[in-house]
Amino acid sequence: MSVTEIRFAGFGGQGVIMMATVIGKAACIFENGYSTMTQAFGPEARGGAASAQVVLSDQPVLYPYVTEPNILVVMAQEAYTKFSPEVRSDGILIVETDLVRVTTAVKPGVRVYGVPATRLAEQLGKKMVLNIVMTGFFTAVTGLLAAESVRNAVLDSVPAHSKDLNLRAFEAGFAYGQKVLEGSVTDLATV
């Protein structure tokens, strides 16, 4: 049985929950997998830190929460500090490079990928779609789900009037991810 635990974390308003919803939906509706999405509820979910967890599996998911993520996506420094020590040593860390400085040493073996998702979204004319840029990037660098499945999940999750913009956001993030994999982009903000 193959289980993948993913945590998405950032600020309230960045669309962290939407990212988790799109990935969860892509896996269980547009592919034949199972997925369970949970989110942090409570005062922390308003304004400050926001986080969502998705467990993907080829079998029905039993334990609903993420304990040791295979993949961590962070879009805020605070979220990075809080969650980066959790990532498995064979896992993947994905950061928003303009918002997160990879300051502390992550476990050896963790693959780190970065994308300036907010900047790319701004170039498309709307900062709001940074989460879908990140979703496209996630799809490219993890290879976890077929691009077509995630694309369909994006279209299924956003309002009709913004489908085109979100699709362009997805493609921008996806293309950036492919470039990162090829090694033609390396602007990870590390110290």
Partner: protein, 394 residues
Amino acid sequence: MTVHADPKGVLTGTHFIDGDHACCEGALAAGARFASGYPITPSTEVVERFAARIPSVGGVFIQMEDELAASIALQGAVWGGAKAFTVTSGPGFSLMMEHIGYALMTETPCVFVDVQRGGPSTGLPTMPAQGDMMQCRWGSHGDYEVIALAPNSPQECFDLTIRAFNLAEKYRLPVMFMMDECVGHMTEKVVIPPADQIEITPRRLTKQAPDEFLGYKADEDLVPDIAKAGDGYRFHVTGLTHNEKGYPSMTVKTQDKLIHRLQDKILQNADDISINEEVDLDAADVVVVAYGITSRVAMKAIQMVRDSGQKLGNRKLRIGMFRLITPWPFPDKKIRALAGRIRGFVVPELNLGQMSREVERASGGLAKTIAVTHAGGTVHSPEEIAEAILEAAR
């Protein structure tokens, strides 16, 4: 007797929604067209969605001034002919107890949804618990039996909400729908079938002429047929002990007959009401009894123990799972039968020991019961349940 669901309330398709939203869709599919509520975390999303959906389906959502009002307004709607429900969590559930008793006494078919959070009092608003399992059984004063269901996934929040409404109509009582915060706020795939594949139990409206109708004269199944206000029937509804006409009759004889009937209509039909998931019970050494979200964590624990190759003597340890989908009425006979042939029960629950006492009682000392308690706030770690399984096998 069943009919197909009214397509107006059925959102056929494949969705990625949480348990609260799925519960709302189940209620709409079941034909609920009235909800009165005093929204409270973590149940709010059920009525939030209902309030958004009901104008286009045709019906009413009303936010009342408090839980007392919410829990009685829905009963007025029922006597006016609607299928109705309310949704709450622990603190609100406590306030609703008086009117749950009223619905039991007046045999008002309706559904109370309790999305359980940590208690007592306001406790942990955003975190799961299963601490209301005895309250839903015994929380109102006097003697009675209830029906309670405990879903363990958003899909079951949909499917079992329909079942809850159907049982409420068939047996004429308030059915307790016992979710927990984890299941309520967990998002998964939910498949809603076409309306013609959803079986609905309609209200058991009397076929008698208005001048012959007795509102509380029971049929063979111990349940009376009902009349709808405005259809020309005279009837009287009271929480006082009443005769077959529905009029107050506060005598020892009437009390004895009525209270026994309210009890027996559930106990005598328990086989029809009760559903449980039984996994690998044949030849099991240890049986885990669980419900709601805890049943999933328990299944993970069972897999962990199996994968570790634990032995009993020179063969593999055999572990079964008995999932209480309807914790009430409690499956006494099945637990008793299992107790006679296993080493022990393990009962994990997000409380300090509620249904575990029932397992212990029903097993009558034939097998040990190990309660894996938890004060709530999150789910168990599978490891602690696994440990109890090994202890039960010893």
